[in-house]
């Protein structure tokens, strides 16, 4: 299509400004994380990287004292990975199965059970944190991965994604499979799951990022710092910045922030096409 020179020029200018708006805070955090704490304390935030990147990142990755606790950033990354993967895998499996029952079967309790699942959309975890905490405490699941992951899975978003997708699968495939002698379980395993591969991947990516970025629930759940995810770790480090009358350890706090950000950003950027497809097609 025809575009005037001026329009092309303003388009690029606006987009570059937009990109800078998004990137600048993260870049400044990164640049500032590569200086010594004394330097940052005296000179403020930095735009250009300094020479202490390896020192700072190495310290928080491997030295528990750098993160003000008994746990290193490496262990926090591991916890985040467990949370992200566990959440994504659990969510995908459970919602695929539930959506299959809802879409492909006629059974007595279909309608009431659908409404039970639907109702979880009405009440995000945030509005029921206090009683949720008590339930998990009663079950003795505080400070366990199970207690961390399961309550987060108790929502229907994934189920609705798969419900939408299944409904778009042509009816004739089921009919052909039935004529080919496939029962419900075989149809699910042989036909539906392989057909859903792109969808599964897209939802997996979205859920991994959502799981990795969880904040409120892990904050309440994990009193034992062995279970801190990196997102929670950042908060603890920032909280203790001004303790002990020392010069605040800003660079290491920034380094932790950057490390918390890199994995989900990489996942989203690398699997961009799949991720956008999943996000846009399912949330409709």
């Amino acid at each position: 299509m025809y575009q005037s020179k001026w329009r092309i020029f303003t388009n690029h200018t606006i987009l570059i400004l937009g990109a800078l708006f998004m990137i600048m805070p993260v870049w400044i955090a990164f640049a500032s994380s590569t200086h010594t704490r004394e330097f940052i304390f005296q000179n403020g935030l930095q735009f250009w990287p300094g020479g202490h990147m390896i020192d700072n990142y190495g310290a928080i990755l491997f030295d528990p004292s750098a993160t003000k606790g008994r746990v290193t950033a490496l262990e926090m990354l591991f916890n985040s990975m467990v949370l992200g993967l566990g959440f994504a895998i659990g969510k995908v499996i459970i919602s695929m199965m539930a959506a299959y029952a809802i879409v492909y079967f006629r059974f007595k309790l279909a309608v009431p059970l659908f409404w039970v699942i639907f109702s979880t959309l009405l009440l995000p975890l945030e509005v029921r944190i206090v009683p949720s905490y008590e339930v998990v405490a009663n079950l003795g699941m505080l400070n366990t991965y199970t207690g961390l992951i399961l309550p987060l899975i108790a929502s229907a978003t994934g189920t609705f994604f798969f419900r939408q997708f299944y409904r778009s699968v042509p009816d004739e495939l089921l009919e052909a499979a039935r004529l080919d002698g496939a029962g419900p379980i075989r149809f699910f395993i042989d036909i539906l799951v392989p057909l859903s591969v792109t969808m599964i991947a897209a939802i997996f990516i979205i859920m991994f990022v959502v799981g990795w970025n969880q904040y409120l629930w892990p904050l309440l759940m994990t009193t034992d710092d062995q279970l801190y995810t990196i997102v929670i770790g950042i908060k603890q480090v920032y909280n203790s910045l001004y303790e002990g009358g020392q010069i605040p350890q800003f660079p290491k706090a920034f380094a932790l922030t950057i490390m918390a950000t890199i994995p989900p950003v990489l996942v989203v950027v690398i699997f961009q096409r799949m991720f956008i497809k999943g996000l846009v097609e399912t949330e409709k």
Binding site: I93, P131, P151, Y215, K235, K284
Partner: protein
């Protein structure tokens, strides 16, 4: 639903059981608990409790801090939704027009989706740190006398800015794919009929994006209600004096830090009602869009 379905007695229950089990334990039970507790009054030591009907609700609704928080939540949510939608729409329209570097721009503008809200909050906190924050210094060097530690409006500005920054990329993704979903032939027909790009946008493109915009409005309001918890908790912590505490943040503060279970539960129940209304609204809209 499907034209053909399996008629089988046990299999569907088997498939739906895991989800129902998890929902029952970690959703229905706590939700019922919240409703039950909202009718109880505990003594100061949590030793005994007493059934007080709607007293907790009366207390919550008549308390100045709750209504203040409610008003802030509404203003905050509307501003965050409108501003971030406007910025993203503007960027998406330009990104849709660009031919050279289109992919790079898309990547540069969408990656923010992956940032955790508390990380966004920390980055904002850092930019506004009175000791070294670039934005803090910049505003004050222009003579604004900016002080978000003490001034409620300045603090609100900080949270809104962070919340908008975090949400721009999500909206951008939806708008860009909405724009790319408009048939090329429609855009070409519009170019023949209308010379001004601006007019073309408001008369052709924007009406075609209306469903996307409306959908995003709902999504953004939900985001501002709930997902900004992490942002607030690490940037202002609701200060000064609860001026930037959204309703969700207040439930947490009163329930966990203040240990007022009854009051916190009553607040939860009120929130549940509000969210239900919002969600039902959203679903009605989605059902309508099917016919669009």
């Amino acid at each position: 639903m499907k034209r053909v379905q399996f008629e089988h007695s046990a299999v569907p229950y088997l498939f739906i059981a895991p989800q129902i089990l998890i929902i029952s334990i970690f959703f229905l039970w706590p939700a019922a608990q919240a409703v039950y507790q909202s009718f109880l009054l505990e003594d100061a030591f949590g030793m005994s409790s007493q059934f007080v009907w709607f007293r907790n609700f009366e207390d919550v609704l008549s308390s100045a801090s709750w209504s203040r928080s409610a008003i802030f939540t509404v203003i905050f949510s509307v501003l965050v939704a409108v501003i971030s939608i406007a910025i993203s729409l503007f960027l998406a329209v330009r990104a849709d027009e660009v031919i050279r570097g289109a992919k790079s721009y898309r990547t540069l503008l969408m990656w923010g989706y992956a940032i955790a809200p508390p990380v966004a909050g920390l980055l904002g906190n850092m930019m506004f740190n009175p000791l070294m924050g670039d934005l803090y210094k910049a505003f004050n060097s222009f003579g604004f006398e900016f002080n978000h530690i003490q001034n409620a409006n300045d603090a609100a500005f900080v949270v809104i800015l962070i919340a908008v920054w975090k949400q721009v990329s999500v909206n951008f993704i939806f708008f860009l794919s909405g724009l790319q979903g408009i048939p090329k032939s429609v855009q070409e027909a519009a170019t023949l009929d209308c010379k001004s790009a601006e007019r073309r946008f408001w008369t052709i493109t924007f009406p075609l994006l209306a469903p996307t915009t409306f959908f995003l409005l709902v999504i953004n309001l939900t985001y501002a209600f709930f997902e900004t918890f992490g942002i607030i908790d690490v940037s202002t912590k609701g200060s000064p004096g609860g001026a930037t505490a959204t309703l969700v943040y207040k439930v947490y503060v009163d329930g966990f830090i203040g240990a007022d279970l009854g009051g916190s539960s009553a607040q939860s129940v009120l929130l549940m009602i509000m969210v239900s209304v919002l969600t039902v609204f959203q679903f009605r809209f989605i059902e309508r869009k099917v016919h669009y």
